[in-house]
Symmetry: C2
Subunit: 770 residues, 2 copies
């Protein structure tokens, strides 16, 4: 308990950002916090995005990053000791042209917050529409000015970035020069050998300043990308003063001798297109057309149209927490960044671990999508969004078959990390062994089918995926003659603080479930489907046999499912026996010590029991939670939310609330001390899951939606909205009362296990805690 | 059986080298075999060595390599995902100045065996004295010549390289130009980021051409080295024609217009000194002095003195196999290269995995030294040589303590790979987990003590090492409440085809033995020694408890020691169920598949039973051999010899002979298809161990030497010599008879378990196979 207080005190004192329910704001600018600020104020619109870098440049420690969705480079891998089956390349997001650049010079002196004298710094990212604003007063030897920057990435026309820069002269009569630029002199921090991923393909200043960068050739046969940016700048109070046209740089120059008190304003619009959508030969035309079309409306008009679209999103997805601004800020922050990263418009895309906020980890697709994001998108967006995520995997089935072949195995192995479906991660204990991901991808098909009631994907493309995943599992198991059961040796479960274990309960359970689910689905579809998929009767018999005879480690005395074969031989201890100064373990303990310890990084057995809750009694769930949670350090961003949900289900409400805070404010409070590298995008569903599945106890079952709500004691109430089978259901939970408001046809729901029909609205009492 | 024949046929047809009992000879020069030839004809004298590169250069595929003992560079590590406790740098042997260079030009055309027309190529490395000779006829447009090269690295004055080059004009009257050079334009193949490790420190042509290279500065605080080479050349039939003095190059030029039939001869002597021995400021003086002193004798006189010293070595170590030239060549090749790498003169050195024959693997000290080489050096060299190897570890005790601290553990953890004692290898499953090495280092102290009868090292510095290793083990175990025993989780045993296993029998047995051995030794020394070492009574109690209550997995039904906790759950199969085209597994199977399979890379349980043979009955040994050997693929160079010894002990003579061949001719027949990278130096004791401990059944026990000899059916007889406690014992084994000849005081030995006293000589009958 002492530790938690100490921990909280640390977070409070370190807090860079104010508590504001719908914005990220700060008036602090510490040199050593700039990367953190940049991460937190990233913006994106699914097509592209960038970190909260400063338009005028910054000569201190900074990580400039602009990223374009689906544009990547196969970097040469870097690993000490090569092993057969290792991938040949590591797909990296490419740090793209810096399109925000606007140099500002006052009497020839470049404005730079690292070196220059400034005050009244204010930074604000609006978490409802993604408008980023920054202002400060700045003094040179000869003058004082006020500078204001605004920018947003349009969700109406995702190729467009809008910027406005305003200079007000507070003292003196300086010469003011502003240079809006496109800067292609960029490189990846995350490049294994420091190589440049780009070269200039073309540039020019007519019809608009434009710059095309092309990824350099690669020896792996993956496509090259060209990204072209074009800009248009208009100025009030400044006169054109030339152009910039030199290698990797194009732009325009505006200047004036300013009067005391004068205000100058520059509006810069930038269009970005790629060869993912448009032939390179058409790029200049395309950006010119986009810029010409956009010129018919003002910055404010564009912002208004953009904001209206965000409001439409929020109408379907807004979560309101009454009486707790910190909690509100947490959920708003997470949903805002998630929707900024992916909103289902482009089914060639997926959700990368850092979105557009950084470049760490490489790849752009992790199992996080299926395991943590699908339930959220099912409820908050149209079914087509989730179906796009499923189709993404179906499209990559040949590559997943390639991955399995690389390991000498049948069927399909979906990658741990990828852009194109080919595995591109190089740790054997992860790449070869963290294969439970293959189960999560199958399970997401089940989630979609159960939530939407639409069996067409399952019985169509989904079944092709399921069959190949089943083939993989059936080959990856072995029969242990000694145990008389099928086993899966050499895996890493969700708990990455143990590697290369045998019979990880989660993996085995999930694999057995996939084999049964595929078999059941084959039983349900016309007989010629199996033949068309080349599935033999022998295979079907084997899949049933493996599923039915999978070894599942269980300890009858403890009444728990056992994480893996030898877990109970460990020195089993509670997390609270670890001295506080040794946390987080991954920054304080050697890898050796972490691996040998009993301490769990993230939900493992509990992750499985969460996925298959209906297979277990509440008593089983309670015993397993009581056994595992005290050994769990939650050092994965994916851990707290699942534990919050299970804690709520077993009545551990205080624990559920504690874990909600942790997941909701992971980046806001920089819990893992790594937010400067970028935000934890794929875990951002955690806060929503904790509220909706945790506090409100929502489940989608075959019988429909069910709820078992409670309201955290510190909150007055909370409200959220979910879409469900053509309807929108608004839910508000207060301490003693839950209210439902439905748009659409009447719906039967279950509350605390009892059926109710909602037609318009429904209010029910919440019984006092049992 | 079919497979073995096919395998043998492959080796025969691929054989590059002739079967010659005391030489490596070939008349074949295939472009794609040059690296292999270079490895095989490497020479060394413990101070330095080089691959069998061609003096005149070679423009085809080649790996030029010259290495100076103890000179290394801390290369930046390369690893995908950093983890706590990982080392900061990876120590690499540095490819040093090419000192063999002698350019030869005929009418301005440079002689180059890759591009030029040549015939009658002959190459011969004498395995008795390391004289390397090469000759060929070479035709240019205008002339035909014969070229002969000879070189050797002196073991009389190890700083010196002697070379002789002879040109005979066969046709024409060409202009002949020869340029003996020192070439510092060299780089490491094994450099993680392709960086240069050297820069020129100084050079000049007076008093002799000399070149100093200095390792570039490093950020890790490890010492820089300067290596200075100086040369002196004399020519007959050629006139001085200038000098070479340009960056990284110095040399002299000799030329003549040759008459038809003329013979020209160049003798080049090179001296190499380093800052390991001599201050950089004295280097030029030192090489000049060495060269001046050497000038008083001719090439042939130096060769004779050098050869006489080699003969002295052979008198103590020669193994003779009568009736099998292949087998003779195998043992001769191994002993020659081993003595060329290390002969105990410099106790700052150890035996690197490639010696002076390549640069793969990095580091220069592996556990191989203690596990495989100590028994050989004990028998073939003076006790001081082994004591130097032990002292090497004692000197690095503080670094081993550092390694343990890096893992958060007490005591000392000797490194997997090192130059200076600091771990410099970066695979967690090896670096952190292959900790059985720590036991081998303790066990070598026991081997030395038992063989020599000298307890002074054990009770002196040895005890300091034992105490710190014991502290490590006592901290690395944990007590499993469930099992009521101490366990060692998360290790990699000698079988590196499984990683991160729990309770590896070998590791646990060895750890328990170390704790008991240390405790016993502490009981034997005066009580104040323990106090001086800071060993408390509590520690001693704990060490005894851990040793006595160590969990040792055993299967009573099978009657075998179990490799690790879950080994028997695997799909247990014999190696002969693997299709032949899938061998070796490490070149054909994914790492995932190898890890999950039952197939064993090298002796693991059997390695332990070999070390502690006296703890087990012959029946236990037989059952374990019968169980494990059929699952063993012997894909480590360290495997076959241990199996040969155990096979001999349990009466599996055919198997023992097969495995002897494999270990003795590993490089000669390029079994693992990797000899082009360099020779497998640290496994070169294998052939000797197979003969002496295997066929002759020699054991050093507390009671003295014992023998249980047999003669392989294909051999007429074999003979070897061992030193033992101030005596030299020659042993000759024929089919029906073993003869002993002793120099020194009478010695009691045991033959087939019965005591005999040797005084001068003894002959005994060998009973027919039971």
């Amino acid at each position: 308990m002492r530790m938690r207080v100490a921990e909280e005190a640390r977070f409070m004192s370190d807090r860079v950002f104010d508590v504001d329910p719908y914005a990220i704001t700060t008036t602090r600018l510490a040199d050593d916090q700039v990367r953190l600020i940049e991460s937190m104020t990233s913006i994106g619109n699914a097509h592209m995005g960038m970190r909260g870098n400063f338009e005028e440049g910054y000569s201190g420690d900074t990580h400039r990053g602009t990223y374009v969705a689906g544009v990547w480079f196969p970097d040469k891998t870097r690993v000490g000791w090569w092993k057969n089956g290792y991938p040949e390349y590591f797909g990296k997001v490419v740090n793209a042209t810096n399109i925000i650049a606007v140099d500002v010079e006052i009497d020839g002196e470049r404005v730079d917050l690292f070196t220059g004298e400034h005050e009244d710094f204010r930074l604000r990212l609006d978490l409802r529409n993604g408008l980023l604003r920054r202002s400060f007063a700045y003094a040179t030897a000869s003058a004082r000015i006020r500078l204001e920057f605004e920018r947003f990435l349009s969700i109406e026309t995702p190729e467009l970035l809008f910027q406005r820069v305003r200079v007000t002269v507070l003292a003196g009569a300086p010469h003011v020069r502003m240079t809006p630029r496109l800067d292609g002199d960029v490189h990846n921090i995350d490049a294994n050998y420091g190589e440049q991923f780009w070269s200039e393909a073309s540039r020019g200043c007519a019809p608009v300043p434009h710059l095309s960068l092309r990824t350099v050739p690669n020896p792996f046969g993956t496509p090259q990308f060209t990204v072209t940016s074009g800009m248009r700048a208009t100025a009030a109070g400044l006169a054109p003063a030339g152009v910039v046209d030199e290698p990797l740089q194009v732009g325009e120059v505006f200047a004036t001798h300013a009067e005391p008190g004068a205000t100058m304003e520059l509006v810069k619009t930038t269009a970005v297109v790629t060869t993912r959508d448009i032939d390179q030969a058409q790029h200049v035309d395309a950006v010119d057309r986009l810029l010409t079309a956009s010129a018919s409306r003002s910055f404010d008009e564009h912002l208004a149209a953009h904001t209206a679209l965000w409001e439409r999103r929020w109408a379907r997805a807004q979560v309101v927490i009454e009486g707790d601004d910190e909690a509100q800020q947490g959920i708003q922050f997470n949903l805002f960044h998630l929707f900024s990263t992916y909103y289902g418009e482009d089914e060639r895309l997926n959700v990368g671990p850092k979105g557009f906020t950084g470049e760490k980890y490489g790849g752009a697709t992790y199992w996080d999508t299926e395991a943590y994001l699908v339930p959220l998108y099912l409820a908050l967006a149209s079914p087509e969004v989730t179906r796009a995520l499923l189709a993404y995997r179906h499209r990559q089935l040949p590559q997943a078959q390639h991955n399995a072949r690389q390991q000498g195995l049948a069927g399909a192995l979906y990658p741990m990390v990828t852009f194109n479906g080919i595995e591109c991660h190089n740790e054997w204990e992860i790449t070869f062994e963290e294969i439970h991901r293959n189960g999560a991808i199958a399970h997401a098909i089940h989630l979609y089918t159960r939530y939407t009631g639409d069996r067409s994907y399952l019985e169509g493309e989904g079944l092709e995926v399921l069959v190949e995943i089943s083939r993989f599992w059936a080959d990856r198991v072995h029969f242990s003659r000694r145990a008389g059961a099928y086993m899966i040796h050499g895996v890493t479960g969700p708990n990455e603080y143990e590697n290369n274990v045998n019979n990880n309960w989660y993996t085995n359970y999930l694999a057995a479930w996939v084999l049964a689910f595929t078999s059941d689905t084959l039983d349900d579809v016309p007989a010629d489907r199996a033949a068309a998929l080349g599935v033999t009767d022998d295979e079907r018999t084997q899949w049933r046999a493996v599923s039915a005879n999978m070894h599942l480690p269980v300890d009858e005395d403890l009444g728990v499912n056992v994480q893996h074969d030898t877990f109970l031989d460990k020195d089993l201890r509670r997390v609270d026996t670890i001295p506080g100064d040794q946390r987080p373990l991954n920054q304080n303990w050697s890898w050796d010590r972490i691996l040998r310890s009993c301490f769990i990084k993230q939900a493992d057995v509990l992750q499985g029991m969460y996925l298959f809750e209906e297979d277990f009694s509440i008593d089983q769930l309670r015993r397993n939670f009581a056994f595992y949670e005290p050994m769990t350090v939650h050092e994965s961003s994916l851990s707290a939310s699942i534990h919050a949900i299970v804690a709520a289900a077993v009545g551990e409400r205080a624990k559920a609330i504690e874990l909600y805070r942790r997941t909701a404010r992971l980046d806001l409070d920089n819990y893992n001390n790594d937010t400067e590298d970028g935000l934890h995008i794929t875990s951002m569903s955690g806060a929503w899951l904790s509220i909706v599945q945790g506090f409100a106890g929502m489940r989608a079952t075959d019988a429909g939606l069910s709820f078992a709500p409670f309201c955290p004691a510190d909150w007055t109430a909370y409200a959220f909205t979910v879409g469900y089978r053509g309807r929108v259901l608004a839910v508000r939970v207060a301490a003693d009362r839950v209210e439902f408001a439905l748009s659409g046809a009447p719906l039967q729901i279950f509350v605390f296990g009892r059926p109710h029909t909602v037609d318009g609205s429904l209010a029910l009492e919440i019984p006092a805690v049992r």
